[in-house]
């Protein structure tokens, strides 16, 4: 068997591929966080809880209404997005003129409420959610056995990330959004409804978290605490990429997934910490993150 740094090559490639799958989830979540920060100036601590909610909505749809995975893939993000819109209108919209930190604290509280409520109703041991029939089984890649569903995760999340990026960078709507980030007063003067735009942005970004949630449901167990530790990692990713940078968050998300995969091969115990080490190093060398623009 061929070896790389004392590790069998198939194992290394396998770990990297798994890293890429994790990275896909990171990318989806950090993309949403970056959009929210860019447009609303809020660090959305509730993102992990809303991701969990996406998975739970899928589970509830299946178990109470008999609605399966494919319709769920559309419905779950819409429902989570709707919840997000309510949150934005009722609470976040009152905080835009204040320091960022209040948004962080408010959403931290929201995360506690959402997670606590689900824990009370469903416990934490997790609910099973089977992948759709058609994605059962897997491909034998020679160096590893890749479940079809995981391959689908990479494809779906990359497509959504790319779509979002194009939407923001290449369309008129995206141009308005970017303008609203730079000069909300000016955009408002052009007769564009900025508050509405902010509401929809939050709803959309949170919907992305819901999408990641249902995508994750068959991979991990559907549990109220599934987003709890993930959110901290995703934060770090957004900071490494540069707060508010869309492209940065996608690239960093995938990159951190790969680096975690490498770490798991060589020093498994550190795999959940490596992202924070990278974040500290990046912040020391490039205070605005890898893709961030300097602040005033």
């Amino acid at each position: 068997m061929q070896e790389i740094f004392g590790v069998p090559a198939p194992l290394l490639f396998g770990q990297l591929l798994i890293g890429l799958i994790n990275g896909s989830f990171y990318a989806l979540l950090s993309l949403g966080l970056a959009v929210i920060f860019g447009v609303l100036n809020i660090i959305n601590f509730a993102h992990g809880a809303l991701y969990m909610m996406g998975a739970f909505v899928a589970w509830l749809l299946l178990n109470y209404l008999g609605i399966g995975y494919w319709p769920g893939l559309i419905l779950a993000p819409l429902i989570v997005g709707a919840v997000g819109i309510v949150i934005e209108r009722a609470m976040l919209s009152h905080l835009y003129d204040l320091d960022h930190l209040y948004g962080l604290l408010l959403t931290f509280g929201l995360a506690l409420i959402i997670e606590g409520t689900f824990i009370n109703f469903y416990g934490v041991s997790g609910q099973p959610y089977a992948p759709p029939e058609i994605l059962n089984g897997g491909y034998n890649l020679g160096f590893m056995f890749l479940p079809k569903y995981r391959a689908w995760v990479i494809v779906a999340s990359l497509a959504v990330c790319l779509g979002t990026w194009l939407l923001i960078e290449r369309t008129r709507l995206g141009a308005y959004l970017r303008a609203a980030v730079e000069r909300p007063d000016l955009v408002r003067a052009f007769g564009i409804n900025v508050p509405l735009m902010m509401t929809l942005t939050y709803g959309f970004a949170v919907g992305l978290a819901g999408f990641a949630g249902i995508l994750a449901a068959p991979v991990y167990t559907v549990s109220p605490i599934m987003g709890q530790n993930l959110i901290i990692v995703v934060f770090a990713i957004v900071v490494i990429g540069g707060l508010g940078s869309i492209l940065g968050s996608i690239v960093t998300g995938l990159g951190i997934g790969l680096i975690e995969g490498l770490t798991r091969t060589f020093y498994p115990e550190a795999s959940s910490t490596v992202v924070f080490v990278i974040m500290a190093i990046v912040l020391i060398l490039r205070p605005n993150g890898l893709f961030g623009r300097p602040r005033e």
């Binding site: 100036n41 660090i43 609470m91 009152h94 905080l95 835009y96 003129d97 204040l98 320091d99 960022h100 930190l101 209040y102 962080l104 604290l105 408010l106 931290f108 509280g109 929201l110 995360a111 506690l112 409420i113 959402i114 997670e115 606590g116 409520t117 824990i119 009370n120 909300p184 901290i232 934060f235 770090a236 900071v239 707060l243 115990e269 550190a270 959940s272 910490t273 924070f276 080490v277 974040m279 500290a280 912040l283 020391i284 205070p287 005033e296």
Partner: protein, 322 residues
Amino acid sequence: MTDTAMKPATGLRGRRFVTPVLALLGIALLIAAPFFGIYPVFLMKLLCFALFACAFNLMLGFVGLLSFGHAAFFGMAAYVTGHAVKAWELNTVLGIGAGTAVAGVMGLVFGAIAIRQKGVYFAMITLALAQMVYFFCLQVPFTHGEDGIQGIPRGTVFGLFDLRDTLTMYYFVAAVFLVGIFVIYRTVHSPFGQALKGIRENEARMISLGYPVALLKVLAFTMSAALTGLAGSTKAIVFQTATLTDVNWHMSGEVVLMTLIGGMGTIFGPVVGAGVIIALQNYLATIGSWVTVVMGTIFVICVLTFRRGIVGEILARWPKKG
């Protein structure tokens, strides 16, 4: 949208009289509390967390920097004290001293790394550093991983007072608390403290006035960390355990909540905030996991309606006499 620092209550006016009176009242209350039938261990927990919140508030309230990693100092100090007292059989007071010192040194290092950052970035880098400390605590053998250090002997104060007695322990904790609060009070009202508030209000101006702003901030952070360590060390002795809970990022969130609800930028706000949260956790323990929901709700209400916190609101409404 300017990047204004979090506005704490401005409440120094008309307090010349009030402060000493309140202080005496507070001390009297501290002394008498165990005789009102309040459970002493609960009181001790409250005092430890109150000191923790006050130390944290030194950064948030008076320098305007939100640290999301203070659990690292709190927890690490608890581990050091626990290990020193249990494994090295150091006297309790020396053990607490060791924990405090280690936390102080960590504060210096954290501060030196993070201090160039502001606002959200500062919160994030402190969080990252704290996560590394958490990882360290999970891996090194002396912390005993998930089990934590258990059965830490309470010991004596240099053989004079036996801390195994609950009341003696209580008065010891009360004394530590008073010393901590006094240090914070003196700091805030010293020229150093005034300079810190100047930085909070307008950093650029302080730089142009020739103040070594970065150094002052690092010093404040070190102090805040050391006092946090003092609280953590004392807690380790009271509860005879030092565990991962104390270094977890949730602990960092909890202390923010205490400070926020009590009133950041006030000396006694965090004490009140700690009281509210600890009492809630204690008396709502029977409703199980709804406690999390209640805490979350308080967080949300606090941010939306009374950002100055309980004490901050009271001070803001205090009649402006003399």
